[in-house]
């Protein structure tokens, strides 16, 4: 069981490229369809929680699934499985890329990639905005400007939002 958890999440770690939600169908296929560890509705339920917790979604899911199946040791195996492929691949790249980074062609490739990377980040931002009501717009854009122009750490904004939420819930309860 522990080995199965490790192998499953190793595969998830190895084959999910790009960020976040691209890996949802893959994880679902592995843990719901292939292994039957979760029912569809359980998966969607926990998906919401893993998504709202801090940290990479794949890692959160690994911990959750591993813990449910086999307690702490299960969580540990699943988590190592999801982390190790990224770790080793990135380490190899870090070891070798540094030496060739100043190469003319490598540099040209990076010059081409940079605007594409910017676009890849801008698209989800615009997509999220277009799905929100005006008050969400105002809040999100204010946050963007505050972080970017005023150089305020996002940490304080998250703390502030979290604290206001708790306060709001507290007032509502009374």
């Amino acid at each position: 069981m522990l080995i199965q958890l490790f192998v499953t999440f190793f595969r998830i770690g190895l084959f999910t490229i790009g960020s976040g939600y691209a890996m949802v169908p893959l994880i679902q296929r592995e843990v719901v369809d292939r292994r039957g560890w979760f029912t569809e509705s359980e998966f969607l339920d926990q998906f919401a929680l893993a998504q709202s917790s801090p940290g990479p979604f794949a890692l959160n899911t690994a911990v959750f699934v591993g813990y449910k199946m086999k307690g702490f040791s299960g969580a540990l195996c699943a988590m190592l499985g999801v982390i190790l492929p990224s770790f080793f691949i990135m380490l190899l790249i870090a070891l070798y890329l540094n030496g060739i980074r100043e190469n003319r062609w490598v540099n040209a490739a990076f010059e081409g990639m940079r605007p594409a990377v910017l676009a890849l980040i801008a698209v989800p931002f615009v997509r999220y905005l277009s799905g929100m009501k005006w008050c969400g717009w105002v809040l999100a854009l204010t946050v963007t400007v505050v972080i970017w122009a005023a150089g305020i750490s996002p940490v304080y904004l998250i703390l502030g939002a979290g604290a206001s939420g708790v306060l709001l819930a507290f007032c509502r309860r009374k």
Binding site: G55, S86, V117, Y128, P154
Partner: protein, 179 residues
């Protein structure tokens, strides 16, 4: 000393990493580029490009890479990868143990509802941070690549395909300079 600073920075990034990879980028750049100056904005963009093309969560890829770049040692990578993962793992274990109570807790719910728009703003800040001279260093080609990549990504073409095509375009541009 540098190890202690990396540890604290990445624990912070892991703990406040709400909203997925892109939102975490603004947190990471705040720590790595702005506060500590471990990487320049251009280097940071390169790291994101590489992270996007390799498997695994961006936050972890980024941590492994930066850990090595800053310390020049494999142990730097081990440390940052560990540090960025530790807070989410701890929180998720807690959530797994008290699953229903966490899920139905009014305080948690309300706090998360308000954090959500913040994380979207963080994605915007990450994008603005990358709107700099280094990103558009190839003039019109850069702008053209940005527009093309934006449209392609909007149409849900796979990020790897987009980045690879952009890389090839950059190299072709370099080739043209030879003639």
């Amino acid at each position: 000393m540098i190890y202690l600073e990396l540890l604290l920075s990445y624990l912070k990034i892991g703990f406040f990493g709400f909203g997925g990879g892109y939102a975490m980028l603004s947190l990471i750049s705040d720590e790595i580029v702005l506060k500590h100056g471990w990487l320049t904005a251009a280097q940071f963009t390169d790291v994101i490009a590489v992270s996007q093309m390799t498997p695994g969560p961006i936050a972890i890829n980024c941590a492994t890479y930066v850990g090595y770049l800053v310390t020049g040692s494999v142990w730097g990578s081990v440390l940052t990868t560990f540090a960025v993962s530790l807070p989410p793992i701890t929180i998720m274990l807690f959530v797994s143990m008290f699953y229903l109570r966490v899920r139905d807790n009014a305080y948690v719910k309300e706090a998360l509802t308000l954090i959500k728009p913040i994380t979207i703003g963080m994605i915007g800040a990450a994008a603005l941070m990358l709107c700099n001279r280094q990103t558009f260093s190839s003039g019109w080609l850069s702008y053209a690549l940005f527009s093309a990549a934006f449209i392609a990504s909007w149409l849900k073409i796979h990020p790897i395909a987009i980045i690879l095509v952009a890389a090839v375009a950059g190299m072709l541009d370099e080739l043209m300079k030879m003639f």
